[in-house]
Amino acid sequence: MPEAMLAWQSAAAIVDAVSSGRSSAVAVIEATLTRIDASAARLNAFTAVTRERALAKARAIDAARARGAPCGQLAGVPFAVKNLYDVAGLATLAGSKINRRLPPATADSPLITRLEAADAVLVGALNMGEYAYDFTGENAHYGASRNPHDPAHMTGGSSGGCGGAVAGDLVPLALGSDTNGSIRVPSSFCGLFGLKPTYGRLSRARSFPFAASFDHLGPLARSARDLALAYDAMQGHDTADPVSAARQIEPVLPCLDLATRGLRLAVAGGYFRRGASAEAIGAVARVAAALGATAEIEIPQAARARAAAYVITAAESASLHLPRLRSEAHEFDPAVRDRLIAGAMLPAPYVMAAQKFRRWYREQVLRLFQSIDAILAPATPFTAPRIGQQRVRLDGVEVPLRPNIGIFTQPISFIGLPVVVVPVPLAPLPIGVQIITAPWREDVALRIAHRLEQDGVALAPRPAL
């Protein structure tokens, strides 16, 4: 298949082409590597390209097919991972300079292993905000990830390279992490579909942590179907992750086309309207109208939930990095270092109060799901700001930019709820809408996302490169 035909292909289309023999896996990977090389200066998405490994895997897929062996469900699909995932042979940077001194990982993250068992092909590791304490995609050591829709703008973070690589057509699939919004923010700013599964659904073994009680791993892609393909391949209990849930695999792909009529939907009001730009409110309204969602609900105490998430994140991450702050504070990104040091000084009763509030809040929100199947809310308060921007105007008031990027994502990951972000293709920059469901109901969120995509309401816009 000609190289141009391999551009902007969904993972599902690549599987079809490779499985049917219309394209070889090697041709797909060679075209992918060419695009990655060509994009380096413009997008700064990759920090490592696993060229030889990828070509070897592609050759193995082609050889197996030639022997008549069945192709995996992700045959020939190139993917890349945020550089906090262990990749055998690479130091797990987690966006830092300090971790360059770590010995190379001796094995892959189990999520990489599971995707490759389905014949996906790892092509490299992606840029990210240092130690994931970031919503911008900027990085003092490796440079900012750049938004393919306008490289002067942020990708969002901390999974910034994931956003740039998928929206920039370097790969159709990337794996990121989301503690307070780090999959959902880049999905919104870069115009992608992103899945933050239920806390405990996907194994976090062999990934570098940030704030362990909030850390989630998940995929970003350009369609709901591609999210489902990857998600199904990665599900399954893993004893190597202490919070991995002992649940059966619950495949979502077979139910993606089920009707969404009859689902009880509501728009999050109150807190989720305050501080949102006209673009964010308009995108939610467009999605709600397409789904016939007319009800509005208030998620109780969402502002306090965000505050509590902020406090626990500060304490957990400071505890994680305390030894490095003592011995090599100069090696951190200064902005990250100052946040971590402040977190180390938080009085313990405040942190425990936040954990106690978390229990109360979880009970209140789970009660909402007794009468609602999904809640719609903006993913970010605004479209992608310019790289380096420090302040933003919200509700007529100028406020610091960085801490306000995650105001709509933090109250959701705080209690581990599954969320799919769908991109609404506004011009000049897209913005995302969160579809939030009860724990373990990723299937409902993905069905809704797929429906919106079929109806042309949600779409990953192709950048004019």
């Binding site: 306090r304 504070a329 000084m345 938080l346 405040y350 109060a353 106690k356 509030f357 229990r359 801490p403």
Partner: protein, 63 residues
């Protein structure tokens, strides 16, 4: 926050840095102070919310 609170914050940072063995350069202090102040303000909104004594904190250890 009042000037008094700001002074208390400065004292807390100085004492905590010593106790935690964190080497803090003078140039870093304004940003650390701003971060800690913002986090404490958020924490205050959580602490003021009344909850039952017997409500279990979120992370539960299972033996």
């Amino acid at each position: 926050m009042s000037d008094e609170t700001d002074r208390a914050l400065e004292s807390l940072i100085a004492a905590a840095a010593e106790l935690l063995a964190l080497p803090i350069e003078p140039a870093w202090r304004p940003a650390i102070e701003a971060n800690l102040k913002a986090t404490l303000q958020l924490a205050a909104t959580v602490v003021e919310f009344e909850l039952a004594d017997d409500l279990e904190p979120a992370p539960v250890f299972n033996a």
